[in-house]
């Protein structure tokens, strides 16, 4: 068979293949899902880290609660237990909602609906975390004095003032970084979902 004849057979093969159309969209949908879930995975990972850290601190705090003797440490400790409890519950809710967003198992409209619920939940969580961060600033310092430095904040008001000042500077920065992380990943998931809007 010479090259011209090979070319003719090749071209016939191409024509036959065009008629057969073997590829299905499922393969591409799977890849889109991988793309969106890898972005969602970052949020889930962040939440998992948050839950683990919160749980460790909560257990430590509960095990050492009897060591909180003065009233600021007791009030701070109680506040921290509540805040950490809320953070853990919300973290679990975020993870479970994020895992429901699946382009393969659900229709596009269901995915969008769940994604919107997820965003609403995150928006509420964001507002709540602004308040909890401010409150936790007042809780962490007396508790730290009591459990780590084994002193009462009431005996070190000047140093505690510096601690509050540092906290007041650092808290907005930390909050900004957290909010930016969520906004960035949410907009990426939104983009991935928008990319998949060709199929329902």
């Amino acid at each position: 068979m010479d090259l011209d004849e090979m070319k003719a057979v090749w071209s016939d093969l191409g024509a036959q293949l065009d008629q057969q159309k073997r590829l299905n969209q499922e393969l591409i949908m799977k890849m889109t899902q991988e793309k969106s879930s890898s972005r969602m995975g970052r949020i889930i990972l962040m939440e998992m880290v948050g839950i683990t850290v919160s749980l460790i601190i909560l257990i430590y705090l509960l095990l050492n609660f009897s060591r909180l003797t003065d009233w600021p440490a007791l009030a701070g400790g109680t506040g921290m237990v509540i805040i950490l409890g809320i953070a853990i519950v919300f973290g679990i809710r975020i993870i479970s909602q994020a895992r429901k967003i699946d382009l393969i198992k659900n229709t596009y409209s269901t995915v969008v609906e769940r994604f919107n619920e997820f965003r609403k939940m995150l928006r509420f969580y964001r507002k709540l975390s602004i308040w909890t961060n401010v409150v936790s600033l007042f809780c962490v310092i007396p508790v730290t004095y009591s459990l780590i430095l084994e002193q009462s904040i009431l005996d070190n008001l000047r140093d505690a003032g510096i601690g509050f000042l540092l906290g007041a500077i650092l808290t907005p920065i930390i909050l900004y970084l957290i909010i930016r992380f969520y906004s960035k990943n949410i907009s990426q998931v939104k983009k991935a979902l928008k990319d998949a809007d060709f199929k329902d």
Binding site: L3, M6, L13, L17, D18, L23, Q25, M31, D197, F198
Partner: protein, 163 residues
């Protein structure tokens, strides 16, 4: 048009070409399916970065051929030679027996070439110009011409071993 829709359209338009590449570099249906998925995956991964950096066809063939060649290298260790009848059987639902015979001859000849030669002949059969083949394979135009001439001789020898 969304990214995914654009990509789906690109794959649909070039489905036949990708299928033919996979058929040249594999011997059985499972390997072909694997390679097909691997090529689509590699195209998807580089799709965002591509965005008109070169001609679409050039980019697609380059990614597909590179993926196929590296796939062939990886699978060479476990290579089992499948009879050419089976190779053609898995290609397409061929109805015409004469066409099937010609296809068997074509694949038997391509099978004797090395991985780069397979790529060059494939592009040649796809009606690509020497310049396009050079861009896709990374060879110079002169090198493409020389290699194609060698391939022609090789194919001639396959038909007439005494020539």
């Amino acid at each position: 048009m969304s990214n995914t829709a654009e990509f789906t359209q690109l794959i649909s338009e070039n489905e036949g070409a990708i299928f033919k590449i996979t058929s040249v570099y594999t011997d059985d249906r499972d390997s072909q399916k694997d390679l097909y998925q691997e090529i689509v995956l590699q195209l998807w991964k580089s799709f965002d970065a591509f965005k008109g950096a070169s001609k679409r066809g050039t980019w697609l063939y380059r990614v597909a051929l590179n993926t196929a060649i590296s796939y062939l290298r990886k699978s060479k260790k476990h290579k089992v030679l499948v009879p050419i009848d089976q190779v053609v059987q898995h290609l397409t639902e061929v109805q015409d027996s004469d066409f099937e015979d010609r296809l068997k001859t074509l694949y038997a000849q391509i099978r004797e070439l090395d991985s780069l030669e397979k790529g060059i002949i494939l592009l040649y059969l796809e009606d690509k110009s020497y310049e396009e083949i050079a861009v896709i394979t990374g060879l110079t135009v002169t090198n493409v011409a020389t290699r194609l001439s060698r391939i022609k001789n090789k194919l001639k020898k396959q038909i007439n071993p005494e020539s």
